[in-house]
Amino acid sequence: MSLRERQEELGLKLLSIEVTGNLKKTREVVKDKEGNFPVLLDCRGFSRDVLHITGTPTTLIVDRQGRIRSRLIGYMKNFEEVVGGVLDRI
């Protein structure tokens, strides 16, 4: 079962942050993508300066208390399995 199908069971929200804040380019990339989640523009370097993201893509998993519980770097073929596994344990 995909993460989207498990969203309710896991009490899960998905969020995407684009680090360059480039509206035009981001719109081009996401226009044909399927996904029912917000795509936020990081215009002030928050990801780099505050979240200390050292490379993209990076996935942060945050628990219900708002605490960062996992930081996953790079592309993953088994994204759903990895992220689902963390969510099952937090």
């Binding site: 995407s16 990339v29 993953m76």
Partner: protein, 162 residues
Amino acid sequence: MGYHLMDDEKQADLAELCFERARDLASHSIERNQAITMIGKIRSGQGRKDDAVEILQGARGNPVAQRYLGELFWDAGKKEEALDAYIRFVASYPGAREKVSLDSLYALVYQGSSDLDEMIMDARIRDEGPLPDEGFVDVEGKSYRLTGYRGTNLVVNIWSPT
């Protein structure tokens, strides 16, 4: 500066000094650990293996430091320590599991054991503290705050279109 200098073997000592300065001035543990990782990489490249191990062990939170430690330990015949480091690396870089041949190395050391997945998952979960708040707009111009997601589990994918 350090990254630029470390490309040239002759400038490695100067690059190391730059990263030592960056380590001393770092305001956050992630920045500090990144500088330490680069110092370890330079020392390893110069053949100063023991010095590299010593400093890399101070950057436990940096996954790339764990990769370098894995390589150094494996070369030194410290296979269990190497696997421990590789597991922490793969915990943060799931896509690198095949690249470092973790499954094969694990099978060599722990023949017949099958708890690798569980060990990686355990190393994957930690507590980095609260997600800092910030306001954003999305591609449609709608406003969001990160604190608006308290009370739900949240997966944040941070990416770049280039």
